[in-house]
């Protein structure tokens, strides 16, 4: 259970201040697949970043399993980012000149997992996203869809309970986008991983079980897709 309570996020100071989020309250239950939609600049990415503790809100409270995040030590926040959340970005964010396997291993390095287990788990993750045998490929040797698969493998390798995806199909054509969406849907259905996904695309939002629409830093609509 993740809960935003009266969250406000203001960027910049005084005259140039931008109110990206305006007293948002939003709860996400375990196992949900939530699509976050809305026009550009409406606060979708900001919301996702607050969920992933990549960003701190200006006001309001964020609770993980009922525990207020603002009270937690920096090391605990790093630990949560390491083993509770998995991030998938529009631009993949893979380390260049680094093999797919090493990219996927990254969270396990910070989790203190030994070399042998790290390799085995990273290989299993790459296999499960449909990239067996491309362990040594560098990002520039992979297509966009394949790079996003590596990124998804990296997101799931440390068994997170939540995946946070910001326009994961934004840089892909519709065929590859569809494959990635199915992969994410499987993670939600088969493994029970909670998914929060920002998207512009209605066909992507259709994979979700719930759709939250933003407008000007506020939630405009919140409805189930059942």
């Amino acid at each position: 259970m993740l809960e935003l309570r009266n969250i406000t996020k203001i960027y910049g100071q005084q005259a140039s201040a931008v109110r990206a989020l305006d007293r948002i309250t939003l709860g996400v239950n375990d196992g949900e697949f939530v699509a976050i939609t809305g026009p550009s600049g409406s606060g979708k990415s900001t919301t996702l970043s607050i969920f992933g503790i990549l960003e701190t809100p200006t006001a309001g409270e964020y609770l993980i399993e009922g525990i207020p995040v603002q009270n937690l030590a920096k090391q605990v926040l790093a630990l949560l980012r390491n083993n509770r959340f998995g991030f998938v970005f529009q631009t993949f964010n893979l380390l260049p000149r680094t093999s797919a396997l090493e990219n996927v291993m990254l969270p396990l390095i910070y989790a203190g997992v030994g070399t042998r287990e790290r390799t085995a788990r990273a290989k299993a993750a790459l296999d499960s996203v449909g990239l067996p045998g491309r362990y040594d490929a560098h990002p520039n040797q992979l297509s966009g869809g394949q790079q996003q698969r590596v990124a998804i493998a990296r997101a799931i390798v440390n068994n997170p309970s939540v995946i946070l995806a910001d326009e994961p199909t934004g840089n892909l054509d519709s065929k590859m986008g569809k494959e990635i969406m199915q992969l994410i849907q499987n993670l939600n259905r088969d493994r029970g991983i909670t998914v929060l996904m920002v998207t512009h695309d209605a066909s992507c939002a259709a994979y979700a079980t719930r759709e939250v629409s933003f407008l000007d830093g506020k939630i405009e609509r919140d409805r189930s897709n059942a």
């Binding site: 920096k74 790093a78 630990l79 980012r81 083993n83 964010n93 000149r97 990296r154 440390n158």
Partner: protein
């Protein structure tokens, strides 16, 4: 995160920019290289000096005409020493044991059709006692040779080889200054001294030199030894007084001759070594500073270039201390790499220079841990600022960095 994976991470980051990494370490290479050369040369020179002093013979002193301005003696316009000075010293300087005149002239030596230009020295048997010169073949110069002004000579090994090749020289007659001189002995080889060949020399009895070559009683120098080590200063003082009187120097006037003590020469050499060490220390300090700043600079560039990477690492669970350690280790490895290259180059350069100026090459054992320590220190000191900058990045801002 474990140490080994941190080190491996740093290595792979540095390998991605091989050329840049190598160039960055240049300052460290020069700095540590200078430290190593300094150590090696310093120890080599010290070994050389004590070697030379023990080779000079015990309690040796030498009087030469001239004044002590600058480091050497200036002899222009100053009366030379003469045989009578030697006699006066022998009679009146009581702390003196052996005493020998020294006079030399560059001349050609000939044997058959072979010839060789060298320096002919006229001296007495005392000289060989003072300097502890040993004849390896033939015999020493005798008092008889000196008294009668015999036409005999003792050759340095270089002269022997130049005139006789591998043939025996003892007993043969060579020509010097158109005089037939019988070779009576060959000196033990002494190698080179400050780049000069100490074996390229010929000794003849002083009387022979004075009567048949120079034709006068002038001396280039008087060499003598004190009765014991404790009496070196006495011997020097007595000799100075005798020579002042002989040369009619009034009280209060400066000496126009110098009585040198090899211990003083050693201290001159040591001060030269000291100056060299200070110079190299300066070069080392400046290079290490430049090297450190170079590392800091390249690490700052690297942090900026890799801002998104840092953001990603933070997003997948790195703590800020993981990031700090990563960049500190990178800086330290860079510094160590430079240090190790510097160590090798320094050792190589020292051995070449030592050979060129013919001083012993001493592997400066102490320089190895110093090179390591200095490198690690520089890496940490100059790596801290970039590493802190990296560790203080905010995950989202870093991820969004273009």
């Amino acid at each position: 995160m474990t140490i080994s994976s941190t080190v491996r991470l740093a290595e792979s980051a540095l390998l991605r920019n091989k050329m840049r990494s190598l160039l960055t370490t240049l300052g460290m290479v020069i700095g540590v290289g200078a430290v190593v050369i300094m150590q090696a040369m310093g120890q080599g020179a010290t070994a050389y000096i004590s070697d030379q002093i023990s080779g000079l013979g015990a309690n040796m002193l030498i009087a030469v005409p001239g004044t002590t301005r600058m480091m050497g003696a200036q002899s222009a316009g100053v009366p030379l020493l003469v045989e009578a000075d030697l006699e006066a010293l022998r009679r009146r300087a009581h702390s003196v044991r052996d005493i020998a005149p020294l006079i030399n002239r560059p001349l050609r030596t000939m044997y058959g059709t072979n010839y060789h230009n060298t320096v002919i020295n006229g001296t007495t048997p005392d000289f060989f006692r003072i300097r502890k010169f040993v004849v390896t073949e033939g015999r020493d110069m005798s008092d008889e040779d000196e008294r009668t002004g015999a036409l005999v000579c003792i050759l340095g090994p270089t002269v022997q080889t130049a005139l006789f090749g591998s043939d025996h020289a003892v007993g043969k007659e060579i020509r010097i200054h158109n005089l037939p001189m019988r070779v009576i002995g060959i000196l033990e080889p002494r190698g080179s001294m400050l780049g000069m060949d100490a074996d390229d020399i010929v000794y003849v009895p002083y009387n022979t030199f004075a009567r048949r070559i120079s034709g006068n009683d002038r001396l280039g120098a008087i060499m003598f030894s004190a009765l014991s080590q404790d009496e070196i200063d006495d011997a020097k003082e007595q000799a100075t007084q005798v020579l002042r009187q002989r040369r009619h120097i009034l009280p209060g006037e400066d000496d126009d001759f110098v009585v040198r003590d090899p211990r003083e020469m050693a201290s001159v050499l040591e001060s030269v070594t000291g100056a060299l060490t200070i110079l190299l220390s300066g070069i080392a300090a400046i290079s290490l500073l430049v090297g450190g700043i170079g590392i800091m600079n390249i690490m700052l560039v690297s942090v900026t270039e890799r801002t998104r990477e840092i953001g990603l690492r933070l997003a997948v669970g790195a703590t800020s201390s993981d990031i700090l350690t990563q960049f500190l280790v990178e800086a330290t490895i860079l510094a160590l790499l430079g240090g190790m290259i510097g160590l090798l180059i320094g050792l190589g350069a020292s051995s070449i220079v030592a050979k060129a100026i013919s001083i012993p090459f001493v592997v400066p054992i102490a320089a190895i841990p110093i090179a390591f320590g200095v490198s690690v220190l520089i890496g940490i000191v100059f790596g801290v600022a970039p590493a802190r900058k990296a560790s203080q990045l905010i995950p989202l801002e870093a991820l969004r960095f273009e």
